[in-house]
């Protein structure tokens, strides 16, 4: 076992571009679930809209990346409206089922052969991120070393923009949640009827929260698409949403920095277990013989650990690391 390699690899993942992606998804979910009590299980759909907006706008229609970002925001808003209009008046578990179904519809439509002219079906779209990499102030092909933790210049640029975006979203969330708007939102989460009896338009507030969180998720999708340089439907399956929930609950819902800490910790733990399992199964004489565990299985076991972690968190510490138990709304009303 090479502990130094395991540690540096885990730290690399903890702050890497994927952690940015999940931090943004979870920040969006924090507005939905943490502050407004909305159980949105379609966050992968929002991220997919973001990624495909960038990809389609710049490759299929040859427009600039800023138009792509704008398209991401607009499409996320429309998706949120489509989701919210039928379901925001309904009970929490209905919203959960509808959002998961809507994200699935989106995925099926985008991967369908019928939409191939625009989305290139299951193969997805690539060759759209050069414009993003070109504005990096350093050489994106170079490698950079921070105390043994290595990033490519491309990843570093993605992380710089990504974590800045995360910081901005955190600031926005912090400002919003101490404003009157945020207090109404929290009031709705605590007692919808009470908020309504004070003359607040509950439906409108919920809708605004759904749109805002959705846009943050779409921006996460944009950053992810720049990182992997392709927009491909398999990358936005429902498990992405579930992982984002794990990140959110791990860090603590209804806390501004909860999702950020959650994402860093989540990726640290994920990379740590993967690296340990890989080392245990590597070489000609692995510590765990291949009859029990092969290398490809080691990759899947991470997901099993995530599932078990999610269950244990919800059972023993639903408020996560930083949350307040009284604030985490986990009861259907």
């Amino acid at each position: 076992m090479d502990y130094a390699v395991i540690l540096t690899n885990s730290l690399q993942a903890a702050f890497g571009p994927l952690a940015v992606f999940y931090a943004l998804l979870a920040l969006g979910l924090n507005i939905h679930f943490g502050y407004a009590g909305l159980l949105n299980f379609g966050q992968a759909g929002f991220a997919m809209l973001g990624a495909y907006s960038i990809a389609v706008m710049s490759t299929t229609y040859g427009l600039s990346l800023w138009i792509g970002v704008l398209a991401a925001i607009v499409s996320a808003t429309i998706f949120a409206l489509l989701l919210g209009i039928p379901t925001l008046r309904l009970r929490a578990d209905y919203l959960a089922i509808v959002t998961i179904a809507a994200a699935e519809i989106l995925n099926l439509v985008i991967r369908s052969p019928s939409s191939t002219p625009v989305t290139n079906g299951t193969r997805g779209i690539s060759q759209f991120s050069q414009g993003f990499d070109a504005v990096a102030p350093w050489d994106t092909a170079a490698r950079f070393d921070f105390f043994g933790i290595r990033y490519s210049g491309k990843d570093l640029w993605n992380m710089t923009v990504g974590w800045s975006l995360v910081a901005l979203v955190c600031l926005l969330t912090w400002m919003l949640m101490r404003s009157p708007w945020g207090r109404v939102l929290k009031a709705i989460r605590e007692d919808e009827d009470a908020a309504r009896s004070l003359g607040k338009n509950v439906y409108l507030f919920k809708m605004q929260a759904l749109i805002l969180g959705g846009i943050i998720g779409a921006l996460g999708g944009v950053m992810y698409a720049f990182n992997v340089t392709t927009a491909q439907p398999d990358a936005y399956q429902t498990s992405v949403t579930f992982f984002a929930y794990t990140v959110l609950i791990l860090g603590g819902a209804a806390r501004v920095f909860g999702p950020v800490v959650g994402a860093i910790l989540f990726y640290f733990l994920l990379a740590f277990t993967e690296n340990v399992l890989v080392q245990l199964t590597a070489g000609s004489d692995p510590l765990i013989p291949p009859e029990i565990l092969t290398r490809s299985d080691a990759f899947q076991i991470r997901f099993i650990i995530v599932g078990i972690g999610l269950m244990l968190l919800l059972i023993f510490r639903p408020q996560g690391i930083f949350g307040d138990r009284r604030e985490v709304s986990l009861d259907a009303r």
Partner: protein, 420 residues
């Protein structure tokens, strides 16, 4: 509580290890597939050639008596599979003899060739296709119904929206698959064994996880998210066990579609058996709910839990029974689904959303609502292929779910009440 949880984790882990012990077999990349058409059945003796994307030949195979072919490829990447159209029997044509295939690492990638034999719509035009699709939809709807009744009753009696119910279906199908293929037991006996295992898994679910959580007064939303965690765990255990591809059962492969009602519709024997068995099982469940003491108790608990408890019904026992019934039905539905669509690790999740569509359409929490709603969803999904492409058929079912929530959120058979 902690002891139970440790027991549950221990159980999961033990299951994991047994699973892993049998997993190491499938290494290397392959392109596999089956050539068959409705009228001709499996097609033997067709040469399938695989080339790289640049046109270099990698390998070829001739289909066996089941219409199957498998070709080893040197590694993950993009390939093109071609069938020799001249080898096809008379009357069968292929609209696309060349298919691009992308093979992932260590995967046996399936490739399907679109074969047409003129059997659909033969001689009578559109009404025949409509009827054919309707009957196929009925078959599919009955499968959804069998699996959804358990889900609906679990919701009715405990309030839990169980996202892991799809995995009960997939585990059922997988258990039957392992007994059938690995141990060589005929599928009917394998199914019976699997149903017993499924009931046990359902019961264990309740005893080891959900009952302790109810005792702790865990919130319903928390339980919903816990069920998602459970579904992730189970789904990836299945992926490790079954691999990424789809596999058929050892029996009843490659059946020929026979004409029924004077050739208006064509069905394979297993389709007919699936429809008859589904109806028999559903009638049995309905009779049980209507006539037996435990059935009445189940409906009473679903209707009003506190009232049921105060009338002397042992609610915990009823819920345990609901879970066992749900597990058994999910397993049976899973086997039928595996018979028509093959066994795959993610089959449960594909069915789950349609189950939700069915029970919401019928009225959440009721047994008969789930039945009616599921039938409508199944028929709707199959009939929608008349107007939309086949790969988008599930979209229709999911849209139906959203529409019904706008129009009548309490469902067809549900009591009209405010649900928000």
């Amino acid at each position: 509580m902690l002891r139970r949880l440790v027991a549950l984790l221990g159980l999961t882990f033990a299951a994991l290890l047994t699973v892993l012990a049998g997993a190491a077999a499938a290494e290397g990349e392959q392109i596999v597939g089956t050539l068959a058409s409705g009228a001709s059945g499996p097609i033997e003796g067709v040469t399938v050639t695989v080339t790289t994307a640049d046109g270099d030949e990698v390998g070829s195979d001739t289909t066996d008596e089941n219409g199957r072919f498998e070709i080893d490829v040197p590694g993950a990447g993009d390939y093109v599979a071609t069938i020799d159209a001249g080898d096809l029997p008379e009357g069968v044509t292929s609209s696309s003899a060349e298919r691009p295939v992308t093979v992932g690492p260590n995967r046996a990638q399936r490739v399907a060739f679109a074969l047409s034999d003129g059997s659909v719509g033969q001689g009578g035009g559109d009404t025949i296709t409509v009827l054919q699709r309707f009957v196929e939809g009925l078959r599919f709807g009955l499968i959804i119904a069998i699996t959804a009744i358990g889900l609906s009753l679990i919701f009715g009696t405990t309030g839990l929206t169980n996202f892991a119910h799809g995995e009960l279906v997939a585990i059922g199908a997988a258990v039957a698959f392992i007994i059938n293929v690995s141990f060589g037991v005929q599928l009917i006996w394998a199914t019976l064994l699997a149903v017993v295992v499924g009931a046990a898994i359902g019961g264990l679910n309740d005893r080891l996880l959900w009952r302790p959580l109810r005792r702790r007064r865990t919130g319903l939303i928390a339980m919903l998210v816990i069920s998602i965690g459970l579904s992730i765990v189970l789904r990836y255990v299945l992926l490790i066990q079954l691999g990424g591809g789809q596999q058929p059962y050892a029996d009843y492969r490659g059946q020929r579609a026979e004409p029924y009602f004077g050739g208006i519709i064509t069905l394979t024997d297993k389709d007919v058996a699936s429809i008859i068995l589904s109806v028999v099982v559903l009638v049995a469940v309905a009779l049980m709910l209507q006539r037996t003491k435990i059935g009445k108790a189940m409906r009473a608990v679903a209707d009003n839990r506190d009232l049921a408890a105060s009338s002397g019904i042992n609610v915990d026992r009823v819920i345990l029974f609901v879970w066992m019934l749900g597990g058994a039905l999910a397993t049976f539905g899973g086997v039928l689904y595996g018979l028509s669509d093959q066994v795959a690790w993610d089959m449960g999740f594909r069915l789950l959303l349609l189950m939700f569509a069915g029970i919401i359409l019928g009225g959440l929490g009721t047994a008969y609502g789930a039945l009616v709603g599921s039938l409508i969803v199944g028929v709707f999904v199959q009939m929608s292929t008349l107007v939309i492409p086949d790969d988008l058929k599930n979209v229709g079912g999911l849209l139906l779910l959203i529409v019904i929530l706008v129009v009548r959120p309490s469902g067809i058979l549900g009591v009209r009440e405010r649900v928000g």
